[in-house]
């Protein structure tokens, strides 16, 4: 790729050690990192809390049906959209990992300060799902393949395929059976019964329906497979949305005459 005169000058300037140019470029980098850090926490967290929501908030909602199916699908939106500018403009296949880190950080701050210290729910009930492995795998596929289609198929599906296994070690103890007032429930259910949530729907209606269990008892696997398939499509779609949002152009400024600019200043 041939550099323009400006690009060549700038490249030479910023790569000169201890130069003013290097210092200015480094300063700009630091601002960009800080902006992205806070903005990604906010954008990804508000997206997840209002789409995955209670399935992520409460341990007794972490079921084999909706949680395993919906979470990876909704998890891939923002990382896929940000993969475009990160990879194509900065050469950094880190959007998934960065998003996962920011999300988990935002969630834990909220769970500690809001859920635990303000309304006294125990940590065992409110831990957020582990999302880092799948999104790291997505980045890895992008790093190795540098190809949108391959990353959609293998990276997108990896987000779903890694989700249940990544969470199983922490979730398994909560699925131990318990008999409570003559009913067979699990430990997560018991925690849910003990800490009443005044405005949720009653437990069984929304958490798990029985039909999926008729598929040979492999609810998690079926949910994961379907989720993985949808994730492949969603990665592609959201990459394109990220591309569109990154490359938005400009519109005429009808007020520019108030700041001393005329029509002939457009091309400057």
């Amino acid at each position: 790729m041939k550099l323009t005169t400006n690009e060549a000058t700038l490249l030479s300037a910023v790569t000169t050690p201890n130069s003013e140019a290097a210092r200015i470029a480094r300063g700009l980098d630091m601002f960009v990192v800080a902006i992205l850090f806070f903005a990604i926490i906010a954008a990804f967290h508000i997206h997840i809390m209002l789409t995955v929501g209670d399935w992520d908030f409460w341990v007794d909602w972490k079921d084999r049906m909706y949680w395993v199916t919906a979470t990876p699908m909704l998890l891939i939106f923002i990382p896929a959209a940000l993969s475009y500018p990160f990879m194509m403009r900065f050469g950094l296949p880190i959007a998934g990992t960065l998003c996962a880190f920011c999300l988990v950080l935002g969630e834990w701050i909220s769970r500690i300060v809001g859920f635990h210290l303000w309304t006294y729910f125990p940590y065992s009930m409110i831990w957020p799902a582990i999302v880092l492995p799948g999104l790291m795998l997505m980045d890895l596929v992008l790093l190795l393949s540098r190809n949108l289609f391959i990353t959609s198929i293998f990276g997108g599906s990896a987000v779903a395929f890694a989700f249940a296994p990544a969470n199983w070690p922490i979730l398994a103890p909560y699925h131990e059976p318990v008999v409570h007032m003559g009913q067979l429930v699990n430990v997560a259910d018991m925690i849910g019964y003990s800490f009443t949530r005044t405005a949720t729907p009653e437990y069984l209606r929304f958490i798990e329906r029985g039909t999926l269990r008729t598929f040979g008892g492999e609810s998690t696997l079926i949910s994961t497979g379907f989720s993985g398939f949808v994730c492949m499509i969603l990665f592609f779609v959201w990459w394109k949305i990220g591309e569109w949002l990154t490359n938005l152009g400009t519109i005429p400024n009808v007020m520019k005459k108030h700041v001393g600019l005329g029509d002939d200043d457009d091309e400057k």
């Binding site: 967290h45 935002g106 108030h258």
Partner: protein
């Protein structure tokens, strides 16, 4: 090589570039105090005075807080945005590259403050609202959680966003020549969260819905939250422009030339 007296004098005149970090640091400290103080106030007053909207104590400790927020925020919005417009640079066609670089860096540093404010609205206070709803049944649109989320955190980042937008179109030639659609989305998208609050409260009041957070009534917040992705577009526009701007003030050895 001989150095003439004039060249030495000229070299001395070019001061090193200084990042003006004071507004950013001050902004973040002020926001941390506001949001931290608000969280402390919740801990102190929510359980004792915030459970029942018909209680006179609710009026005293929460609705007074609410009305104070509204008055202060509307005043600050018009003060900041009005200041930006009234003190605009009316000769942007004559701005020197070095001055433009200084302004652009200041503006980018203030985007950090905008993102910091958006964090409190989009993450910290937003998810906290879920836990309050699951603990205390909503009785009006005004709860100890909503008063900090919808009527404080969101207006704060809206005020900062619009102030930065007006700074950009009145002081930065790059953004004044043509309006960046990405910048409009970054400012106006999150602003649309506020009208969505109206729809949200209307829906909850009308349908007396259960409070699980994924209800379709809440998806408006998600949709407008997505517009913050356009921030990457703004940053890339800035960086592309830097490729044009920096060579005007630097030589290939990385030294300042103006």
């Amino acid at each position: 090589m001989a150095v003439t007296h004039d060249e030495v004098g000229q070299a001395k005149a070019i001061a090193p570039f200084k990042f003006n970090l004071k507004p950013m640091i001050m902004g973040m400290i002020v926001l941390a105090i506001i949001f931290g103080g608000a969280r402390w106030y919740q801990q102190w007053a929510a359980w004792d005075y915030g459970l029942d909207a018909t209680d006179p104590m609710f009026d005293k400790y929460w609705m007074t807080f609410f009305w104070a927020e509204i008055v202060i925020e509307i005043s600050l919005f018009f003060t900041f945005v009005g200041y930006m417009w009234l003190t605009r640079d009316k000769h942007l066609n004559n701005v020197k590259p070095r001055e433009e670089l200084r302004r652009l860096m200041l503006w980018v540093s203030m985007l950090v403050v905008y993102a910091f404010a958006f964090y409190f609205a989009g993450s910290f206070y937003a998810e906290q609202d879920a836990t309050w709803h699951q603990t205390v049944v909503r009785d009006t649109s005004f709860t100890p959680s909503h008063i900090m989320l919808f009527y404080m955190s969101m207006p704060v980042f809206i005020i900062i966003g619009f102030t930065l937008f007006f700074y950009a179109i009145t002081r930065l030639p790059f953004f004044a020549r043509k309006i960046s659609i990405a910048l409009v989305l970054v400012v106006c998208g999150p602003f649309m969260l506020l009208p969505t609050v109206g729809y949200n409260e209307w829906g909850h009041a009308f349908w007396l819905m259960e409070e699980y957070f994924t209800v379709p009534l809440h998806w408006g917040f998600v949709f407008f939250g997505w517009t913050i992705i356009a921030l990457s577009g703004v940053l890339i526009q800035v960086m592309k422009y830097m490729v044009e701007l920096l060579p005007k003030v630097l030589n290939e050895k990385g030294e300042l030339t103006s």
